[in-house]
Structures are given as structure tokens and as C-alpha cells.
């Protein structure tokens, strides 16, 4: 989902930068406030960031014959709320833009918007909806992480289609083309991310039940914990 350096017209770069900045600033405030209030949650914020680090470094093959990578932002969005993932995702993207020539500084705003804002917000919303429907914790985590990942890539396709509308078919023709490259490739990877996120959440529910309770992440095994 990385839009490469220079591959987005300047106006678009500025617009996406302006759109992303407040999320990153607000997210940074919520994270620092949380660390001050609950210092013991620092470790879990680290886990959420580390998960994004690992997953966004793994380029996996897909059935379309191309490679892409998961984002890992669903986990943190479920645990700490979507805003917290904006600064964390921004750090990962900055690392890749500067050291790896993967993504870019001018396209940073657009990339933050897709990976660190749309993905986490979608994941957190889906998690809440599925939990409200009284489905199990694991199902909610899986759907949230999978669909959040997928929507990140749909967002990238929208961003590119807006910048490069098809001379004949306009935005939609262009969107279909980019979505075929990004979103279709992403389907199996998004499912992988869903499974991996559930595995980590199961471990969290077992090892850090007290912290999860503080964060009001109900795993469905609370009775077990209190007993």
C-alpha cells in the first residue's frame, strides 16, 4: 500500500498530509496520557507497535502472482482505540520511507491516512459492531483485523484513482484497475493477518487479563479471571 516517493502530485501530497496531521497529533496525546495514567500498559503499547513492525516487513506472495504485506494495525486499534495507531503507524512508515526507499516523505501523509488511520478506525468500528452482536471475542478480532487490513488497500486504490483518473473511464475505471492490483492481492494476506491477530489476542487474554480489563477489552473469559 506504499505509494512511492514522487508518485503522487504535490497537491494531493499536501491534502493528505493536512488530513493526516490532526489524527497523528491527537493519537500522540492519547498515547502519552495513557502511559502516564497506566504505566503498566507501556509493555502492551510496545507489543502493538512491534506487531505492526513485524507484519509490515513481511512481504508475502498472493494468489494473483504478486507480493504485498499485511499492516498489523488492527491489534493496536482493538486494544488502545484507533487514534493510538496513527502515531505508531507513522513511525513505521517513516522508518520505511527514509531507510528503505519504500513509500516516501512526500507521500507519507497519504500512506499514513490509509494504513494508520482508515485501517485502525475500520478495525475498531468492526470490532465494536461484532461484539455488540454478541459474537465471540475471537470472531470479532478476526473480522476487525482482516477487514481493517483490506480497507487500507482499498483506500490506497482510491487515493491513486483520485490522482490518476482514467482518461476514458474516469475515477471508477482507474479505481477498478488499482483495486485489482492492491485489494485483490491483499485478500489472502488480510486473512493471514486476521489469524495472527487472534493468536496474539488469545495470548494477551491469557497473560495480561488485568490490563485488558483496564482497557475495557472484554475477552469473554472474565469470570475465569475473577474466580
Amino acid at each position: 500500500m506504499h505509494i512511492m516517493e514522487g508518485f503522487l502530485p504535490a497537491k494531493h501530497c499536501i491534502a493528505w498530509g493536512i488530513a493526516s496531521a490532526p489524527f497523528v497529533a491527537y493519537g500522540l496525546r492519547t498515547v502519552t496520557k495513557r502511559v502516564r495514567e497506566y504505566p503498566e500498559q507501556r509493555m502492551l503499547i510496545g507489543v502493538a507497535a512491534a506487531f505492526t513492525f513485524v507484519l509490515s516487513a513481511l512481504k508475502m506472495p498472493s494468489v494473483t502472482g504478486s507480493c504485498s504485506h499485511p499492516t498489523g494495525t488492527g491489534l493496536g486499534a482493538i486494544l488502545f482505540g484507533p487514534a493510538a495507531m496513527a502515531p505508531i503507524g507513522a513511525v513505521v512508515l517513516l522508518f520505511q520511507a527514509i531507510l528503505l526507499a519504500h513509500g516516501g516523505l512526500t507521500t507519507l501523509g497519504a500512506n499514513i491516512f490509509s494504513m494508520a488511520i482508515v485501517g485502525p478506525f475500520a478495525a475498531a468500528a468492526i470490532y465494536r459492531l461484532v461484539r455488540a452482536a454478541r459474537l465471540p471475542f475471537g470472531v470479532a478480532v478476526f473480522l476487525a483485523a482482516t477487514l481493517g487490513d483490506l480497507l487500507t488497500y482499498v483506500t490506497t486504490s482510491v487515493q491513486l484513482a483520485l490522482a490518476f483518473p482514467d482518461p476514458v473511464g474516469g475515477f471508477w475505471a482507474s479505481f477498478t484497475k488499482f483495486a485489482t492490483v492492491f485489494a485483490v492481492t491483499q485478500v489472502p494476506l488480510a486473512i493471514s493477518e486476521g489469524f495472527l491477530t487472534v493468536i496474539v489476542c488469545n495470548a494477551l487474554a491469557r497473560l495480561n487479563p488485568r490490563e485488558l480489563q483496564e482497557m475495557r477489552v472484554a475477552t469473554g473469559s472474565e469470570q475465569e479471571v475473577q474466580a
Binding site: P61, V63, I98, F182, V200, N208
Partner: protein
Amino acid sequence: MKRHQNLLMALAVVVLVALPLWMVHKPAPGPDGKEAEIFAGADSQAEGLIGRIDPGYRPWVKPLMEPPSGEIETLLFALQAALGAGFIGYWYGSASTRARLQREQETTTSC
């Protein structure tokens, strides 16, 4: 039960990654004799697509620095994954030890 579930999910991930390698076949070399490339990055495919939609578009900035070779790029990606995996391993080790010590303490005090 939970442990079983985790193992199955981990297996599913392995299958999801391995399946494309086995399903996608390399197309025959084109008429120009050039080998077709498979499993290229989606990001670079999008770059090619931009070139086809708007042939006049030229990237207006270049990356500050590019890894000098594919090997160096692999090194940096491996470093990124290792940092993340290292931290997750540290958390898992310390959290599971803490949980075990707590359990042991509870059983000794309740006796």
C-alpha cells in the same frame, strides 16, 4: 482447546502463504525472449499502472536514499522484522513467567 485453535490458525497462515507459490505458474517467456516476472511487489505494479494511465507523468521527487542493492534492502527489512519479533518474544517470555510465578504463589499461600 485454545491451544488447539492457535495451532490450527498458525497452520492456516502457513497454508495461505504456501498455496500461491504452488498455484501460480511462471508464464512462458514472451516473444522477445524476456523472462516473465512473478511475485513482484504490488507497489511497483501500481507504479507501472500509473505509467499506463498517464504516460506523461514523471515522479517529481526521488527518495532521499535508496538501499544500494537488493541485499541491503533485505537486510533492512529483516532488521525491521527482527526488532518487532524480538520485542514480542520479550513480552511473551516475561508475561508468561509472571503468570506462572503468580500461580505458584497463590497455591503456596492457599495451602
